[in-house]
């Protein structure tokens, strides 16, 4: 039976522990769970928040397409992707990816792949709010992110 990924785009926070529990409870075939949580950093005190803009509809659609690629590529028993949008203060969660599998390498690779593709393909953009007041610039995409994503092709 093919796995259906859980994909959410939301303003509310998520509970990584509870989401992990949903992928394992009542099952005896899950041997490995790899969870990635991305959090907002204050960049040495210079940022008061990140504002995450997204493309409603396409964000969910693209995350689902990436999740389905991961499911086609690795033997997963479950996959969860949650991405927040709106204004997020330092220390708060931004994104959660959890990959469950019978085998550890599949879970690690699927979560790693998902984050690399999410970074370069999911339509979200970060704008900085500065600690000294005012709005800073849009965060630039990193060349390193493209290189990370290219590892999987």
């Amino acid at each position: 039976m093919p796995v259906t990924p859980k994909v959410k785009v939301q303003t509310e926070d998520f509970d990584a522990g509870a989401e992990s529990g949903l992928l394992t409870s009542g099952r005896k075939d899950v041997g490995a769970l790899v969870s990635f949580t991305g959090l907002c950093r204050d960049e040495a005190g210079t940022l008061s928040a990140l504002e995450l803009e997204h493309y409603p509809g396409m964000a969910e659609g693209e995350l689902t397409r990436i999740a389905q690629q991961a499911i086609a590529r690795w033997p997963l028993t479950g996959l969860t992707v949650i991405h927040r949008h709106g204004k997020i203060p330092p220390g708060d969660n931004i994104v959660l990816v959890i990959a469950a599998s019978s085998h550890r390498r599949a879970a690690f690779e699927a979560a790693d792949f998902l984050m690399d593709y999410l970074k370069t393909r999911a339509p979200f953009w970060k704008k900085e709010h500065l600690a000294e007041g005012g709005t800073g610039t849009w965060v630039d995409a990193k060349d390193g992110d493209d290189k990370d994503a290219a590892r999987w092709t």
Binding site: Y55, M58, E62, H83, K119, R121, P123, F124, W138, A141
Partner: protein, 83 residues
Amino acid sequence: MNIRYFAWVREKVGIEEETIELPSNVKTVSDLIAHLKDLDDYHASAFEEEDAIRVALDQEHVEPDTELGAAREVAFFPPMTGG
């Protein structure tokens, strides 16, 4: 056709969304960008660094040479920085 802008492309154009009639010579995404650049200074400024602009057609990533076909919505935005 419905056109949407995000992030700094949106800020430069000055609007989130607009609907335009496509001239008959606009076949591809590139043609559309050329057409939009001619509309006014705001559009011209938004598309100045054309290589930095990403495009989605009906909410899927496409390349600039893609034909617009029967698409209902096109979106322009900078490289993604989520995650």
